[in-house]
């Protein structure tokens, strides 16, 4: 009980979440909550998320799927009278939750994010065909077949208008030296781990 409204979690957010040091500057006007086109679909609008952080509700914030719902439309940033980078904080919180292993299971945005990342890292370019197929089968084989059949018309149309190359499935295009990219990313991840450790 007495842990409530202590600044512990706020400090953790400030240190570990991208743009997290802005959270304390929120003045609770609610313009972000009123501006969000997905407002009715999340449990907690940004205003509430910021208040929960200040109220030391670590579990509730990090396990919430609210910040995963952000579509990066930037309406809230454009309108925030205190100029908080709300979109960035939402993505920062989502990422931090995932790193902490607290992101909600089977959250579609989180799953898609992982698929996208894995796809990109292989060749340094997104292979849209493989990404699309992976997406169809994200929720199991049977589901994947059903989705693929349902979308077959769209696939044929894209093929005819040369918007999709079936040969991509065999490997596809990429950058000249994906190995170097992977090295760069690895190094960046090491640096970040070192930074969080030192905190």
């Amino acid at each position: 009980m007495s842990e409530q409204y202590t600044n512990n979690f706020l400090k953790e957010v400030e240190q570990n979440v991208e743009e997290g040091d802005w959270v304390k500057m929120c003045m609770q006007c609610g313009v972000c909550a009123g501006s969000c086109p997905l407002g009715p679909h999340w449990a907690h609008p940004p205003q509430e998320i910021f208040m929960m952080i200040r109220a030391n509700k670590r579990e509730e914030v990090l396990t919430s799927d609210s910040m995963w719902m952000c579509t990066s439309c930037y309406n809230c940033i454009a309108r925030c009278p205190r100029e908080l980078p709300i979109t960035h904080i939402m993505h920062g919180l989502a990422r931090y939750a995932k790193v902490q292993g607290l992101a909600p299971q089977n959250q579609p945005t989180a799953k898609f994010g992982q698929l996208f990342w894995d796809n990109l890292m292989k060749k340094g370019r997104v292979n849209e065909l493989k990404l699309g197929v992976a997406l169809y089968f994200m929720n199991g084989f049977v589901e994947g077949i059903k989705t693929a059949l349902a979308k077959s018309g769209l696939g044929m149309a894209m093929f005819k208008t040369k918007r999709m190359d079936p040969m991509e499935i065999l490997g596809g295009h990429g950058i000249k030296d994906p190995g170097s990219l992977q090295k760069i990313i690895k190094k960046a991840q090491e640096l970040e781990a070192a930074r969080t450790q030192s905190n």
Partner: protein
């Protein structure tokens, strides 16, 4: 009347010449208005036209001038002749601009102009030159009651402007509440940190002025007189009484802290660790540069909770209904006392609406956030004696209980305005002696006024202020309330306010020295005069004067204090025996204007509607209607009046019994949110009109022929509409039977 010479100048510019028959107007001014000189000019307000008038004044000894041109509110610089009585007959905004320019309307428009010429000449005929009473000399000494931030600032500002000041402070030290603070909220950029109160610097400045006298441990035992000649008995520290004369008075008596013992729900008094904001300042001063400790046991403070709006903005009995304005910023400042000393101390401010008025406010709020002060939007329902804070978080919508080490209650300011004289008066009426015990409070000014020992209070115990139009002006001319006795405010606002009050006090004493009125008829030299032999000592004038300008002399006759008077004429309107008048504004000037208007007989189907319009709001609104070319009924005859309060019922009765078909009184909104420049004028007019109904019925007249209206300066569409409705009403009920 023998040494007067009247002249009428008719302007033909701005389309007046094309729309009206100026020759006919000249005839009327000469034959009916008995003007000795009548001239027409194509462009009266140009240099040549003005020179023509000036030459007549200088060479022909003309001292009464009727300028039949535009509204009295236009071209005031061109038509500015000192020592000359003047009437501005309004043919432009009042006639041609509010009538359609067509053949059909030509006759009625011309008649309207002719009537206005007749009325203007009649007004002039009964007007005398205003001269001032010479009741007082110039006195450049200002009495300042209260030695806090506002009082000290007023003294410094007055002294810097070259005036003398005397400060009366009831405590043993200057500085007031601000002197008991560790720091104040900042007043200069970047508005980030608590700042020095600068009280010591102000004290030094006051010491350095030879013309500022300070009486500590002193009070005002008695105040009498009027602006320019106030006399105050000062009860000094030694017990002796010193009597001094002053030109003006500033009341800067500040506030008392709200008694937090009333707040049982917050356990104030049950734990040493629950303090109000003043209590925290004391702790901070005691701690000096070190950490503030818990008063109960001297332990380290880890967690401070600030409860905003404690006993404020509340509808509970015994709590304050208003916001004290400074407390949110003060709590942020006090949270910084902790954060600046040790950032690991949790400081939480629980608010429902965070209000940080003033330029520093928003930046200071951000600075608090940057320093890690937590702001929670919530309502605290209870603080227990062991410092458990129960609140409802309004954002997360949940009930919470948390543990604090120290709780600070942001309680409000209670004005220290002295005795509520209105309560005294009504209690006297109702309960006699019993009520005397109820009248708590000690008078601040001990005014020797018939109306009571202190100035009237506006609301919530705050000293008087004309809050809409001129916030400094009170209903006690020459006495200015400033600082937290006028409204809740912080140090910076009090300083700004006090500088303004000092300038108003200077203005008041200089005006008084010249016999001129203070706001809003500033510069007016006329003042009420009364025919003593006609007076019945009914006291209505003393009671109805909104400004307490009238005392009673030893023989119980009214005693007018000219420089307290604001020249509204409410006394003139009140007097049942019609003995009060001004030199240039009287029952005669108004009555003769009313009589001068031509009343066509019943069968001509040309009714006459008399409109008495407040010169402050209704008349300018009509001018604007003219500028917007809003047409209205051609049978309306408008007379501008100083205030509806100056309208004597007898004028209205005379008008309806001499053939007017309707009388309309156009005054300002009345009641709690009054806009009347003279506070009660419009209200008095409405009350008086409600009482003449029986008289009208007795004469066989319909009561609806007399209509008082509340209008504002923005009603430029509505007032013409009201005129037209009155015209329609007369069409329905018929013409007045009093046309002879």
């Amino acid at each position: 009347m023998s040494d007067t010479k009247s002249a009428c100048y008719i302007c033909k510019g701005c389309g007046i010449g094309e729309r009206l028959d100026a020759g006919q107007l000249s005839n009327i001014a000469t034959r009916e208005g008995r003007m000795q000189i009548v001239k027409e000019h194509d462009f009266l307000c140009n240099a040549e036209g003005v020179k023509m008038i000036r030459d007549d004044i200088d060479n022909e000894n003309v001292n009464k001038v009727c300028i039949a041109a535009c509204s009295r509110r236009a071209k005031t610089e061109a038509f500015n002749f000192e020592g000359v009585m003047m009437n501005r007959t309004n043919l432009r905004e009042g006639v041609i601009w509010i009538r359609p320019d067509d053949e059909e309307s030509r006759e009625t428009t011309q008649e309207m102009a002719e009537d206005y010429i007749r009325m203007g000449c009649a007004d002039l005929k009964y007007m005398n030159l205003e001269s001032g009473s010479g009741q007082q000399l110039r006195n450049d000494h200002i009495l300042i009651v209260g030695g806090g931030v506002a009082g000290m600032t007023s003294a410094i500002e007055a002294a810097q402007a070259g005036y003398k000041a005397t400060i009366i402070e009831k405590s043993g030290e200057l500085g007031g509440w601000a002197g008991k603070l560790k720091s104040r909220t900042p007043s200069v950029a970047p508005y980030a940190d608590p700042a020095d109160t600068e009280i010591e610097a102000m004290k030094a400045a006051i010491d350095a002025f030879a013309d500022v006298t300070v009486h500590l441990n002193a009070t005002v035992a008695k105040t009498s007189g009027a602006p320019g000649r106030f006399s105050a008995d000062i009860a000094t520290e030694s017990g002796s009484i010193v009597t001094e004369n002053f030109g003006a008075i500033i009341q800067a008596t500040g506030f008392n802290a709200y008694d937090a013992n009333n707040l049982e729900q917050f356990s104030y008094g049950k734990s040493a660790d629950i303090v109000d904001q003043a209590g925290l300042e004391a702790l901070a001063l005691a701690a000096g540069d070190g950490a503030i400790k818990r008063p109960s046991n001297g332990a380290e403070v880890k967690r401070v909770v600030f409860v905003q709006c404690a006993g404020q903005r509340s509808d509970k009995d015994g709590e304050l209904s208003y916001c004290s304005g400074h407390c949110c910023s003060t709590s942020i400042k006090q949270a910084m006392y902790f954060k600046d000393q040790n950032p690991d101390i949790d400081t939480q401010i629980i608010y429902t609406d965070l209000r940080t008025p003033g330029s520093a406010g928003e930046d200071f709020y951000r600075s608090g956030q940057r320093k890690g002060v937590t702001f929670t939007k919530g309502v605290v329902s209870e603080v227990t004696a062991d410092l458990k804070v129960k609140l409802k978080d309004l954002i997360l919508d949940e009930e919470i209980e948390e543990q604090a080490d120290l709780v600070v209650l942001a309680t409000g300011q209670v004005p220290n305005a002295g005795i509520n004289i209105d309560a005294v008066v009504s209690d006297e009426d109702n309960a006699g002696e019993e009520a005397d015990n109820k009248i708590a409070g000690i008078s601040v000014l001990n005014l020797d006024y018939r109306q009571g020992p202190d100035m009237p209070q506006l609301r919530d115990g705050y000293a008087d202020s004309h809050f809409i139009c001129f916030p400094y002006e009170t209903r006690r001319t020459g006495i200015y309330a400033t600082g937290t006795v006028r409204r809740p405010m912080d140090i910076q606002q009090a300083k700004d306010d006090a500088a303004g009050a000092a300038l108003k006090a200077i203005q008041a004493l200089e005006n008084a020295a010249l016999g001129r009125a203070a706001h809003p008829r500033s510069g007016d030299l006329s003042f009420p005069q009364f025919r003593k032999e006609g007076c019945t000592q009914c006291k209505r004038c003393t009671v109805e004067c909104p400004f307490g300008a009238i005392n009673e002399d030893e023989d119980r006759y009214p005693e007018f204090n000219e420089s307290r008077c604001r020249r509204c004429g409410t006394c003139m309107g009140a007097c049942p025996v019609r003995v009060i008048s001004f030199e240039n504004y009287s029952l005669n000037t108004l009555g003769e204007q009313i009589k001068a208007c031509d009343i066509p007989d019943e069968f001509e189907e040309k009714p006459r509607i008399l409109v008495l319009a407040c010169e402050n709001d209704a008349y300018p609104a009509l001018d604007q209607a003219g500028m917007n070319k809003i047409t209205y009924n051609p049978f309306v005859r408008v007379i501008p009046v100083r205030c509806l309060g100056s309208i004597n019922s007898s004028l209205v009765i005379d008008a309806v019994t001499s053939g007017y078909d309707g009388v309309m009184l156009m005054g300002c909104p009345k009641g709690d949110n009054y806009q009347c420049h003279f506070v009660r004028g419009s209200e008095m007019a409405h009350e008086r009109m409600s009482k003449i109904e029986d008289t009208l019925k007795g004469q066989g007249l319909e009561p609806e022929r007399v209509q008082p209206h509340e209008v504002s300066i923005a009603d430029i569409q509505r007032i013409p509409q009201l005129f037209n409705e009155m015209g329609e009403l007369i069409g329905e009920i018929g013409m007045s039977p009093f046309k002879f």
